[in-house]
Every structure is written in structure tokens, then in C-alpha cells.
């Protein structure tokens, strides 16, 4: 039965090995697992792995191999390798000013991070190769449980609270997934993780869509991204940005391709975060908003649903993991070396961290979709598909959002971290392993953009598309360069808003402020009613007792104890009366 090894297995075994090793052997394992896993993916996966008649008679598919699952499989192996290479120095304790990796607090926090990251990567692989909803559910929940330690490893009160909220939101998503899956199974008799859609699936389809949507950062459910990434460790954020949301994008592509509602949701996701990204001060929170914006393009592409659009969506997910990983790595490097991530605290680092600055700029150019960089060949598929399907308004929104990407991720991130005003910080370049990981990320950003023909060969659908037409190159450069010109004009006229130490209210206020407030208010209202009712009842009982006491109490006329003498007197009087009547 087990002719092929499900890709999550090496990672789960690897996590065990990492837990019981230290030093060099641990480092070797960290790098070897994604490489061996990748070889397994390239050479070992020959057929699906199924567990027949399992759990109530359903067939569980632990491994389903097709072009879509393989694409995400390759991606997650690359992401895991880069992530572990980037985090390889953890536990060495020789990094200046290392903040947030928990090494200073003693214990094997580095080990905890490595183990949880290994299990997290394995869970992501388990989810994308799952062929049924039950298996998907198990890995879906494992994604949350394993990754929360990358937030808690910061070891602060705030990260602890953030981690809990993260966990609750994702567990809710998992519960919805299981409920939707069971309702669907009741309807169709199958738990196969395939196309679901919203037509003819009733509530089950919607519940599944919401379950996927929470993990994908749909509007109103998006703040777990902007909350948890900035609170995680510098290395943890690299892993977090790679897996969870992309598993959700994969699930949407698998089950809800062509659903019109996703076009609207996706377009909204490309649009509103860019305003927040302009205002935000914490650069990792800016990247969080940027993440939602990029997922918006993917969700809209899945909603459009044509071969070109879905290819564009999954290709863009692939490119995004690499360039967003690179951006998180470069800001993580800054954080590791300076302990800061806020625009107000940074600036001028290009003087002492030129390599990191250059690599950050490569990531920035890739996400902005400059020709020769990855997003140029991926995002454009979604945009062209939108025009082909006559979604003109959507296309205009996306074009605006593309300019917005250049603003917050293309210019703001590198500009405020490495240039802008000189903060006076003279931090050194980060450890070599970080630089190498970032360099590989940068090379991949360019490779996807240059060797696009080979990259397109990995995509799941058949299509005809050529990204490097003169018109596309020219119009894209015009959009980007004149956008940048707009930025220069905004800076020179002083219109561009300063970075401010502040928070900007977002949907999270619902559960961080309004929810607790409602609970408190409801609690105190209930308490007031409770006090009043108790007092009234007590008063009532007391007054009944008073009346009873008046009649039956010690001095009450009905409760007096009468002395024998007076009784004899009364008896004598009665007898006298008797005699008087009858005689």
C-alpha cells in the first residue's frame, strides 16, 4: 500500500530527530529534511496512498499526486529549506542584539522553534497532498497548533496573547471545515477533497468557503495575519508567511474555482490593505497587509476561474512565498541586528548593511512586478484573464492595487528600513546563513521571471500566454516608474504622511475591544439584574417572615404560651358558662 511516501512523513520524523539533537547534527538534519523530502517528491511519488474503509467507512487519501498538489509540494520544500537555512544560527548565541529569538531567556527555545517549524512545514505538505476533507482537517488544525509556537517563542506577554487569539481563530476555521465536510458528506456520501462550489451544496459549500476564507485572510477575518506576523520571531515570520495562507489558497483553487463571489472578495482584499500599509509604522505589519493584498490577487484569479486565471493564481502564490519570504527575511535580518522593525526607528542602514539592503530591493522589485522579476510573469496572468472575461472594473481596481504594491512593498519597505532619514544605527550585516538564504531567495525571484517557460510548465492547467510582449513590458514600466514619480512628488511636496508611533483601528477591534467590552457590559448588566432580583426576593421573604412573626412570633397573640393557672381559670369560666346555659 505504501509504495509512495507521503511528503509530510520526512518532516514529522525530522522534527523528532531535531528534538533529540543539538549543534552540528541538528543543523545537518534541518537542511537535509527539505532536500530529501524534495527528492522524494521528484522521484518517489508514483501513485496515491489511500486508507480504505477508514473512519465510518470513508476512504481517506493521504496522498493525492497531481500537478496542483505537486506545485505546492515543490514550493513548500523550497520555503522550508530557505526558512531553515535562514534560522540555522538560532541557538548559537553569537548574534549581536538578537531580539525575539528567545535565546537569551535560556532553555532550548531555538530547538522549540526548529521542531515546531518542521512540524508546521510537514502539516502544510500533509494538507496540500490530502485527497479528502478528513485528512485535510487533521493537517489544517495541525498547521495552527504547530505554528503558534513560532509566535510564543518571542516570550512576551503580548506575543502570548496574540498567539492565543491566533490559535482560537484557526481552531474555529478547522471546526467549520469539519462541519462543512460532514454536511457535504451527508449530502453527497463522499469526503473527497475536490471541487465543491456553492451551487447545489447548500450550507456545506458556504461553511467550507468561510473555513478556507478565514485561513486565507478574507476581509474581517484578515487581522490574524497583521497581528501575528509582527509578533513572531524574526525567523518564525518567514515560516508563517510561507505556509498557512498558501494552503488556504490551494484549498480555494481546489474547491471553489470559478465562484464569482471570490472575484469580489479578492478585489476587496487587493484594495483596502494598501491604505493601511501606507499608514503602518511596523514594517512587518506592513508586510502583513501586503500579504493580504497579494492573496487578494490570487483569490480574484481563482474566482475568475479560467485556465489562465487559476494558473495565474497558483503561480502568483508560488512567487509570493519566495518574494514575501525574502522581504520578511530582510526585515527579520534588520530586526535581528538592531532589535527594531518600526519605520520611525530605522533608516540609513544601507551604509552598514549593503547586502541586506540590496537583497531587500530585489524582493521589492519582484513583488512590484518589474520585468525580469517573478510577479511580472505571474500576476499579469490574473490581470489579463480579468480583461478577457470582461471584468473591467475589477481590472481597474487591480491596476490601482498594483501601484499600491509598489508604494508599500516596493518603495516603503526598503526606503524606510535602509534609506530615508539616518537613524544613526550602525548595525552589521546579519549572520552568513541569513545572507545565503536571502541570496537564494533573490536568485529564485529572478529565475521565475527569466525562466518563465520552464516555470509555466509546472502549472496545473493548459494555456497559451506570453508575458514578455513589448506592450506588457512597456506599460508595466510606465505604471511603475510614473507611480514612483508620484512618490517623489509626494515626498518633495511634503504631502506623504510621516511614520507615526500609533495603531490604526482595523477589524480586529471587533474581538480585541468590542467583544471584551460587550462581555464586560453584559456581565455587569446581568450582575445588576441579579442583585436587584435577589434583593427583591429577599425583601419579599423578609416581609412574609415579618407578617408571620407578628402573628406567630414570641409576642404574637396566636403564639403566646398560656400558663396553667389561666387555663384552669378559662376552663372554670367555660364550665360556669355551661352550667349557666343548661341549668
Amino acid at each position: 500500500m505504501l509504495g509512495s511516501l507521503p511528503p509530510f512523513v520526512p518532516f514529522f520524523v525530522g522534527a523528532l530527530a531535531v528534538a533529540f539533537t543539538k549543534g552540528l547534527p541538528r543543523k545537518v538534519i534541518l537542511l537535509a529534511v527539505p532536500i530529501l523530502g524534495g527528492l522524494n517528491l521528484l522521484l518517489g511519488l508514483e501513485h496515491d496512498v489511500q486508507l480504505q474503509e477508514f473512519l465510518g467507512g470513508y476512504t481517506l487519501t493521504l496522498l493525492r499526486v497531481d500537478k496542483l498538489s505537486l506545485l505546492f509540494g515543490y514550493l513548500f520544500h523550497i520555503a522550508a529549506f530557505l526558512g531553515f537555512l535562514y534560522a540555522l544560527h538560532l541557538g548559537d548565541g553569537d548574534v549581536d542584539g538578537a531580539v525575539g529569538d528567545g535565546d537569551q531567556t535560556g532553555g532550548d527555545r531555538a530547538g522549540l522553534q526548529h521542531v515546531s517549524a518542521m512540524l508546521y512545514a510537514g502539516s502544510a505538505l500533509g494538507a496540500v497532498f490530502a485527497g479528502d476533507f478528513i485528512t485535510l482537517f487533521v493537517f489544517w488544525e495541525l498547521l495552527a497548533v504547530t505554528s503558534v509556537f513560532l509566535i510564543w517563542a518571542r516570550d512576551s506577554k503580548r506575543s502570548f496573547a496574540t498567539g492565543f487569539r491566533y490559535l482560537i481563530i484557526h481552531v474555529v476555521s478547522g471546526v467549520l471545515l469539519l462541519s462543512g465536510a460532514l454536511m457535504l458528506a451527508h449530502r453527497t456520501g463522499s469526503v473527497e477533497f475536490g471541487h465543491v462550489g456553492l451551487e447545489g451544496t447548500g450550507a456545506a459549500g458556504w461553511i467550507l468557503l468561510i473555513a478556507f476564507g478565514i485561513k486565507a485572510g478574507f476581509p474581517l477575518a484578515h487581522n490574524w495575519i497583521t497581528e501575528s506576523y509582527p509578533e513572531s520571531t524574526p525567523t518564525g515570520a518567514v515560516f508563517l508567511s510561507a505556509f498557512t495562507t498558501k494552503v488556504a489558497v490551494y484549498a480555494l483553487a481546489r474547491s471553489f474555482a470559478g465562484e464569482d463571489v471570490l472575484i469580489v472578495v479578492g478585489t476587496a482584499m487587493t484594495f483596502f490593505p494598501i491604505f493601511y500599509a501606507v499608514l503602518e509604522n511596523d514594517l512587518r505589519r506592513v508586510l502583513g497587509y501586503s500579504m493580504i493584498n497579494q492573496i487578494g490577487f490570487m483569490v480574484a484569479g481563482i474566482g475568475i476561474g479560467t485556465a489562465l486565471a487559476v494558473n495565474g493564481a497558483v503561480a502568483h502564490a508560488f512567487a509570493d512565498v519566495i518574494f514575501k519570504g525574502l522581504l520578511f527575511m530582510s526585515i527579520g535580518a534588520v530586526m535581528t541586528m538592531t532589535g527594531r522593525t518600526k519605520g520611525t526607528d530605522l533608516g540609513g542602514l544601507y551604509k552598514t548593511m549593503p547586502f541586506t539592503a540590496t537583497l531587500c530591493i530585489v524582493g521589492a522589485m519582484a513583488i512590484s512586478a518589474f520585468p525580469l522579476f517573478s510577479a511580472f510573469v505571474t500576476k499579469s496572468m490574473i490581470m489579463v484573464a480579468a480583461i478577457e472575461e470582461h471584468h473591467y472594473i475589477v481590472w481597474l481596481f487591480m491596476l490601482f492595487a498594483s501601484a499600491g504594491v509598489l508604494e508599500h512593498a516596493g518603495i516603503k519597505i526598503p526606503f524606510f528600513a535602509f534609506f530615508a532619514h539616518d537613524s544613526g544605527i550602525r548595525a552589521k550585516e546579519p549572520p552568513k546563513n541569513m545572507l545565503i538564504a536571502m541570496s537564494i531567495g533573490a536568485i529564485l525571484c529572478l529565475s521565475i521571471g527569466i525562466f518563465w517557460i520552464q516555470f509555466y510548465g509546472l502549472l496545473p492547467m493548459e494555456m497559451e500566454y506570453h508575458p514578455y510582449s513589448t506592450t506588457h513590458v512597456l506599460t508595466q514600466l510606465q505604471l511603475l516608474c510614473f507611480g514612483a514619480l508620484g512618490f517623489i512628488a509626494l515626498m518633495k511636496t511634503g504631502v506623504y504622511p510621516d511614520e507615526k508611533r500609533a495603531v490604526h483601528i482595523d477589524a480586529e477591534i471587533l474581538y480585541r475591544k468590542l467583544g471584551p467590552w460587550l462581555v464586560r457590559k453584559t456581565g455587569s448588566a446581568v450582575a445588576r439584574v441579579d442583585t436587584y432580583v435577589r434583593a427583591s426576593v429577599l425583601e419579599l421573604v423578609a416581609s412574609v417572615l415579618r407578617v408571620a412573626a407578628r402573628a406567630h412570633g414570641l409576642v404574637g397573640p396566636l403564639a403566646r404560651s398560656w400558663p396553667t393557672g389561666s387555663t384552669v381559670l378559662w376552663v372554670a369560666i367555660l364550665l360556669a358558662g355551661y352550667l349557666l346555659f343548661y341549668l
Binding site: A403, L474, F482, L485, A489, L490, Y496, P497
Partner: protein, 100 residues
């Protein structure tokens, strides 16, 4: 750059952004690139298989890019006025909860 501490302070690196002439030249090079991109549209024209109704207008992408940045920032500024809170906005509340 002059230093009061002289030799005692660490050697202050001078980056290219500290050289105003160089930065100015860089800006001019960028303006030139923008001009070239407009001229290129005259020379090469635009040809897409499935054009958007507005896409064919001359300089559409350039104008759209420039305006997008201004629209974004000009809308974000009043948004900030509405949404901005102190950095410990959530912490204060959660602290109160902990205490309660």
C-alpha cells in the same frame, strides 16, 4: 560630516545619500527614464490582444500610475485621522481585563 568627538567616536561611514550632487543626478536619470518610456510608446505603440476600453489611450498607464499614488496617499491621510489611536490602545484594555 564633522564630529565633536573626533578620533574617539567610531568612524562614520559616508553613503551615497550623503552626497547631494549624486542624489540629484540620480533623480535626473530617473526623470529621463520616465521620458524615454513615454517616447517609447510613440515609437512602439501599444498592441494587446484583448484591450481594456481605456487601455488604448495614450499614456494611460503612466497617468494611472501617477494618479494612483496621489489618490492612495490623499485618501489614507483622512483615514489616519479617523483610525489613529495610541500605541497601547489594545494593551490598556487587555491589561484591565487581566486585572479584572
Amino acid at each position: 560630516m564633522s564630529h565633536e568627538h573626533g578620533d574617539h567616536g567610531p568612524k562614520e561611514p559616508i553613503g551615497w545619500m550623503d552626497k547631494p550632487d549624486f542624489v540629484k543626478r540620480l533623480f535626473w536619470a530617473f526623470y529621463a527614464l520616465c521620458a524615454v518610456l513615454v517616447v517609447a510608446e510613440v515609437v512602439f505603440g501599444k498592441a494587446t490582444e484583448h484591450p481594456h476600453p481605456n487601455e488604448g489611450w495614450f499614456g494611460f498607464y503612466a497617468v494611472y500610475g501617477f494618479i494612483s499614488f496621489w489618490f492612495l496617499v490623499l485618501l489614507a491621510k483622512p483615514m489616519r485621522k479617523l483610525l489613529i489611536r495610541s500605541e497601547d490602545y489594545y494593551e490598556g484594555d487587555e491589561g484591565a481585563e487581566d486585572a479584572g
